[in-house]
């Protein structure tokens, strides 16, 4: 070709080239035409003008030509790109299938890392990040009073009323309180969660009814017909969607007309079945009757800090000059967004899990990187051949990247599958304390997150080998068959990767070891009672049927007697608080017949049967008996710690104590004489020390039986479940309107540590995952190194080296690197272990046992992972290995 014009169809370059090509072509035409005219006898100048005239608008023609050709080039380029991509993908698939082991390891590695992260991120996204499902939910705040110790306490009605009238920063402010109570009128007697609330609750949430209406201010007026609103869930499940006209329920003894069904998304406070109006006229005026929680919607232009400052000032003004006990008066408010109030407690645990999942992903990526690198190295010869045959460098890099992308896509697919499984497990295991866990689903943003992780991994680690392999010194690789200088450099990178992988895995292993240890500690806590073979009945009588507390007490006495008669029951009794089941009141009590002599203690009503059923040991004196009826002398039993705290070194028997404000006898100055001392019981939680507690016979002081009542039953046979039918029948016989809520105490115990178990299981799972990944990574690297050094080993063996020596050498070198990783991991744990301390119980974050165990487990796994490929590699015949390549 004489003229290297811009025109060979494929090699044309977009842009100025096209314009030049067009101009040149048109110029050629004009020149030829001019010459033709000159040959016909035209004057040259005239001829040029004539040629131009005959040609027409050259500008226009040139523009049209350019447009057409540029469009064509673009189309061709697209086609060309697709062709190339198709080709790359086909080639990539073929090479991946040729090395299924590598493809599988890579896919699973990525899949597990991405899966764990996607699942945990789904939960974090839904629980922590997603706004609450209410209109402008950021403006909804939750508040309580601040107590003298800086903690929170429920809001006194008198304060709430003044807040509502005087606070300016809110569009609406509502008080609410809820508890589980008997609801009659549904298909069966049941215990529903009932929330008493002011009418403004609906405006705070901008809630709308699904049908009927919500409660309004008039419903709260004295003399108004009692009305209520039910949740959509309750209406459908328990009321079979009965039409609202003439729908009545008996809620806590009051006949309530149901006027509306709340829209489905409305669930506040969580789990509420029925909302009923607060009787605003029948509330204590004291500023120390702390009974309510408050939610509010911030007004336009108001902010949480501003509103909180206003409320603090207002509250201090309100309590000033109050003659209520200053120890129980508010010192301000505690205000937070409702979102924070709902998700706050689970944040720490979820972030820990997210961190752990992140570490797993890091291990997975490191693993993938070393696998890609090893594979790249094995292929360096093939690629060098391709490069020397003229494949452009960019093309080879692109090829490697295509392979990595295919791997990433496959990994993402596996990861999403894994995520679905993990999420399923999370939901099944997740404690109720994680709000909104049930709603969590893998959604678009989370999938995008997963794909993002996969692509990032590929870009970073897929390019690393690509850069290395597409260097211009491909000839060197060809000559050396992939060994030599390049191999040394690679070995350096590997060491770094293995060290990183091992140290990350160690951190996870130690973390999960610590959590397991602390969980064991938790379960071994001395709680002061024996939950084995004990079942509890939570009972709630209708105040309409049993208006007085004496009638309550009488009913419980009869019921307990009946229960004791059931065959297989070895002990049964009444108690007002059951360990780990919510309600455990404490109060300021008076001592020693002196109303000015105070003590603080838990207040529990019980009978002797309860102590027997729960195996709470009697330390001194006696338990309650038939002498301690309503007409007998008032008596009490105190816990050991109560006796030690208030009568140190003295005999508590014969001392006297009141029930404080918990019952009415304090007003008469009526003291109860201490007749016995029992062992300490942890009522609040496994991990919380027992509090000094005073027990009174419920027959003598029945008033709290209306609020909280349990019957505890111990089975003689050891099979508490077998008692349930008989218990239900007995209950049915005594009062068919009392819903049976029967829970084995051990189940309550288990549920109380569900958050810790959840953290432990997940962290443990992640640690195992990291361990497996790290081992797989080491296995891969050693396999590669063995393969690379087959020749060297062959020589050594041929020269009389013993197999075991050669093997030891390979394993030893790997373990040196592993050891370094372990050391760095240990240092990391020692430096950063404090993050864990909030999750630990009775274990230091640097617990040497956990550290040692993790080091041993990881060390052994690493040694195995190194030894297996080394053993396999040295088993071959030296002559064969020497002839390799």
């Amino acid at each position: 070709m004489k003229t290297p014009g811009p025109g060979s169809r494929r090699g044309r370059i977009f842009g100025p080239g096209v314009g030049e090509d067009v101009d040149r072509e048109l110029r050629t035409h004009l020149e030829m035409r001019t010459r033709e005219l000159v040959e016909q006898g035209w004057d040259p100048g005239e001829a040029a003008r004539e040629a131009a005239r005959l040609f027409g608008d050259a500008e226009e023609v040139a523009r049209a030509c350019r447009t057409i050709t540029e469009r064509q080039i673009r189309a061709e380029r697209r086609m060309g790109m697709w062709d190339a991509i198709r080709q790359d993908v086909r080639y990539g698939l073929r090479t991946l299938l040729k090395a299924p082991e590598f493809a599988l390891i890579g896919m699973l590695t990525l899949g597990l890392g991405i899966g764990a992260n996607t699942a945990v991120f789904s939960v974090v996204d839904n629980v922590l990040l997603a706004p609450l499902p209410y209109e402008a939910s950021d403006d909804i705040v939750w508040m309580r009073e601040r107590n003298t110790r800086g903690g929170t306490m429920a809001v006194a009605w008198a304060n709430f009323v003044d807040w509502r009238e005087q606070a300016g920063g809110f569009q609406a402010l509502a008080a609410y309180g809820s508890r589980a109570t008997t609801v009659l009128g549904a298909e069966q007697p049941l215990v529903g969660r009932v929330t008493w609330t002011t009418a403004d609750l609906w405006s705070v949430f901008r809630a709308r009814p699904e049908r009927g209406r919500l409660t309004v201010a008039d419903d709260h007026q004295p003399g108004a017909e009692p009305v209520g609103v039910v949740s959509g869930r309750f209406w459908r499940n328990e009321l079979s969607s009965t039409p609202l006209a003439d729908l009545f329920l008996e809620v806590n003894g009051v006949r309530v007309r149901i006027v509306g069904v709340a829209a489905d998304g409305f669930d506040f406070p969580s789990g509420t079945d029925v909302w009923v109006p607060v009787d605003e006229t029948d509330q204590p005026t004291s500023r120390t009757s702390h009974n309510w929680d408050v939610v509010g919607r911030l007004g336009p232009g108001s902010s949480l800090p501003a509103a909180a400052a206003e409320m603090n000032a207002l509250t201090l003004r309100l309590v000033e000059g109050s003659d209520d006990d200053p120890d129980f008066l508010a010192t301000g408010v505690v205000m937070r967004t409702l979102h924070e109030q709902i998700v706050g407690d689970s944040r720490r645990a979820l972030l820990l899990l997210l961190g752990a999942a992140g570490l797993v992903l890091l291990v997975a990526c490191t693993n993938l990187a070393s696998t890609l690198l090893a594979r790249g190295a094995t292929r360096s010869r093939e690629l060098a051949v391709r490069a020397s045959l003229g494949a452009p460098r960019g093309r080879i890099a692109r090829q490697l990247l295509t392979e990595s992308t295919l791997l990433a896509l496959a990994g993402t697919a596996v990861g999403l599958g894994v995520a679905a499984l993990v999420l399923h497990a999370l939901k099944a295991l997740g404690p109720e304390s994680i709000p909104r866990l049930g709603e969590v689903a893998i959604d678009g943003s989370v999938v995008a997150f997963a794909v993002g992780i996969a692509l990032l991994t590929v870009l970073v680690f897929g390019l690393l080998p690509a850069r290395r392999l597409s260097r211009p010194d491909a000839g060197a690789a060809l000559r050396e068959g992939g060994r030599g200088v390049a191999a040394d450099r690679r070995a350096g990178v590997w060491r770094v990767l293995v060290v990183g992988e091992v140290s990350l895995a160690l951190v996870l292993l130690v973390g999960s070891g610590l959590v397991v240890r602390s969980f064991q500690n938790l379960l071994q806590e001395e709680v002061g009672f024996d939950a084995a073979d004990v079942t509890t009945l939570a009972l709630s009588l209708s105040p309409a049927k049993y208006p007085s507390s004496a009638e309550h007490a009488d009913w419980y006495r009869r019921f307990v007697e009946e229960v004791r008669g059931i065959p297989g029951v070895s002990a049964a009794g009444f108690v007002s608080s059951v360990p780990f089941q919510g309600y455990f009141p404490n109060a300021r009590l008076e001592l020693d017949g002196d109303l000015e002599k105070h003590a603080v203690g838990g207040y529990v009503l019980a009978d002797a049967g309860a102590f027997e059923a729960l195996d709470i040991p009697l330390v001194a004196g006696r338990l309650f008996d038939e002498r301690d009826g309503p007409d007998g002398a008032h008596v009490a039993v105190v816990s050991e710690s109560f006796a030690e705290a208030y009568w140190p070194g003295e005999n508590p028997i014969g001392k006297s104590v009141t029930g404080g404000g918990m019952d009415e006898f304090w007003q008469d100055g009526r003291f109860a004489q201490v007749v016995g001392v029992v062992g300490d019981v942890r009522f609040r939680a496994l991990a919380r020390e027992s509090e000094p507690t005073v027990y009174f016979p419920y027959a003598q002081r029945p008033s709290r039986t209306q609020f909280s009542a349990y019957v505890v039953v111990e089975a003689a046979t050891g099979d508490v479940g077998a008692l349930a039918p008989a218990l239900r029948t007995t209950l049915q016989r005594l009062d068919p309107d009392v819903p049976p809520r029967i829970t084995p105490l051990e189940e309550t115990l288990r549920a109380s540590v569900a958050p810790q178990r959840f953290t432990m299981l997940l962290l443990g799972g992640f640690a195992v995952l990291a361990l497996v990944l790290a081992a797989a990574g080491i296995y891969g690297v050693v396999s590669y190194q063995v393969a690379q050094r087959t020749r060297e080993m062959g020589i050594r063996l041929a020269l009389g080296g013993r197999r075991s020596t050669v093997r030891r050498m390979v394993v030893g070198q790997s373990l040196g690197v592993v050891g370094l990783g372990l050391m760095i991991g240990v240092l990391a744990v020692l430096a950063g272990g404090r993050v864990m301390s909030a999750f630990l119980h009775g274990v230091a974050p640097t617990d040497p046992f956990s550290l040692a165990a993790a080091v041993v487990v990881l060390g052994v796994a690493a040694a195995l992972a190194a030894w297996i490929p080394a053993a396999r590699g040295t088993r071959v015949d030296p002559m064969i290995t020497m002839r390799a390549e």
Partner: protein
């Protein structure tokens, strides 16, 4: 590249354009533009789409550059069609974009550079189709017009 240049202007034997024999008037090449107006009264608008077929037909005899095609069409049709010479070039590029033509820069016999177009396989097939449809078009027209006269 002499092979390409051989097909250049005014050399070919008589061509059959759309089945109509077109006499190559060598003599006409000598007629000056002054004596012969460039747009004779007998000139007419080129029917839409026929330029493409004319180009394909012209190139079926061998590679040719734009000027050559233009000159050949002028002479072969006795300047019947009233076409601005520049209109040829977008048409060439459109045909090329459709894959009916290929182009490359080459030297002419006189040693200057020009962009030569050749027919592709697709181009040949397209030409065949074009001729067929033109023939049936002409036949249909003739039948109607001839019948009207009768």
């Amino acid at each position: 590249m002499a092979r390409v240049a051989r097909a250049a202007v005014g050399r070919g034997p008589d061509l059959k354009l759309f089945g109509i024999a077109v006499r190559m008037h060598k003599s006409q090449m000598g007629i000056s533009a002054r004596e012969k107006p460039t747009m004779p009264d007998s000139s007419m608008e080129l029917l839409k789409g026929t330029l493409d077929i004319l180009i394909l037909k012209t190139l079926s005899a061998g590679a040719l550059h734009g000027y050559g095609i233009s000159r050949y069409l002028r002479e072969a049709t006795d300047d019947t069609f009233q076409v601005q010479e520049g209109a040829l070039y977008p048409a060439l590029r459109r045909l090329e974009a459709r894959g009916l033509l290929e182009s490359r820069w080459d030297s002419t016999d006189t040693g200057r550079d020009a962009k030569f177009y050749t027919l592709t396989k697709d181009g040949e097939a397209e030409l065949e189709r074009g001729i067929q449809s033109w023939k049936s078009y002409v036949a249909a027209m003739a039948q109607v017009l001839g019948g009207a006269r009768a």
